[in-house]
């Protein structure tokens, strides 16, 4: 806790003021740094996967796992408000999953990830996917300690998803624009969505994907810095 800048001494029953700077978000940042150090010490890469509800985060993670699991020891942390549906889906790929149900929260935070990491054999892992709660607002504000951030949106959400949620894309390393097989039916141009991302965050790599026909899955893997060999 921050030390008070000024304390006015008072007798009992008197009113006194304390001037200080207690940063409410510092604790999450501190825990995120701690998670990051812990992952690095074990040589584990962690990818925070964020995106709207139903954009295809789980499907994309599944597709990536099936291509990477022969080369890397992978585990998944599944964040949801409730149910184990996503971790059951992921478990079908044969990798260990830890389900984190936030109950009332709209995002994962560094403390929940710390607890999830406690339950994982970190020295026996190379790569952890952290699937955040489906939401394009809150997760941007809570770093978890991952070394890469992947944001997943889809053409079915319409043409303005990027422009309407600038904060989410500012911190992204890779953006997947998913369900491009439906682009024509949706009358949404994926290239325009990519252009919006490039304008907001020129450093982010953008990949067009379809989990149904496999388009772009390799591309996302490569953009995240991995190869399928």
């Amino acid at each position: 806790m921050t030390k008070p800048v000024e304390v006015v001494t008072s007798s009992e029953g008197e009113v006194f003021d304390v001037e200080l700077e207690i940063d409410i978000l510092k604790e999450n940042r501190r825990l995120a740094d701690e998670n990051k150090r812990r992952l690095e010490a074990n040589g584990v890469h962690a990818i925070d996967v964020m995106g709207s509800v139903g954009s295809g985060k789980t499907s994309l993670i599944k597709k990536m796992i099936s291509r990477l699991k022969d080369r890397f020891r992978i585990a998944v942390i599944e964040g949801d408000v409730t149910t184990t549906i996503d971790s059951d889906l992921i478990a079908s790929e044969g990798v260990p999953t830890v389900q984190v149900n936030t109950g009332k929260e709209c995002h994962l935070d560094a403390n929940l990830i710390r607890k999830a990491l406690d339950r994982m054999p970190l020295n026996k892992l190379d790569l952890i996917f952290i699937e955040n709660v489906g939401n394009l607002i809150c997760p941007a504000e809570f770093p978890l300690g991952s070394d890469r951030r992947l944001v997943v949106i889809s053409v079915t959400e319409g043409p303005y998803m990027v422009l309407k949620h600038p904060m989410m894309f500012l911190g992204a390393n890779v953006v997947a624009i998913n369900k491009v097989d439906l682009a024509e039916a949706m009358e949404v141009d994926p290239a325009k969505l990519s252009a919006h991302v490039a304008k907001l965050n020129p450093k982010a790599a953008t990949v067009h994907t379809s989990c149904r026909n496999g388009t772009g899955i390799e591309g996302v893997i490569n953009a995240l810095g991995f190869t399928t060999g």
Binding site: G13, E14, F16, I22, E27, L200, N201
Partner: protein
Amino acid sequence: MHEFTIASSIVEALLDLAREQGSSKVLKVHLRIGKLRALSIEQVKFSYDILAKGTALEGSSLTVEESAGSVRCPSCSYHGEFNPDDLSFHFGVPPLLCPQCGNSLSIDGGDECVITKVRMLASTAKEGTPERELVG
């Protein structure tokens, strides 16, 4: 959307502070919240009042000062205030682009959430250490 979580952290930090300072009653709390932090002040206050019930914070007043957002452009070194409350800002679609050169901006202020000042009552010795327990 996560005002309840933030209000919980604020309440926790204040209860720790009151304990440190030996006070059993907090009267007034000042916060500074940046305009670029996605927090609704009304909802923070609403959650705070609920969470304060039954604690040393019950009945305390919460004053929130909003700090301006500020941005910097890495391309043309534009530096200026950035105000999501200003309607004209929302017409400059997409936001977070430099008004001077149109490239992407970085945020360099106005995304904080900080407790800045707390007024509390110095506790009276009678509370917590009743004399009769010391006798005998």
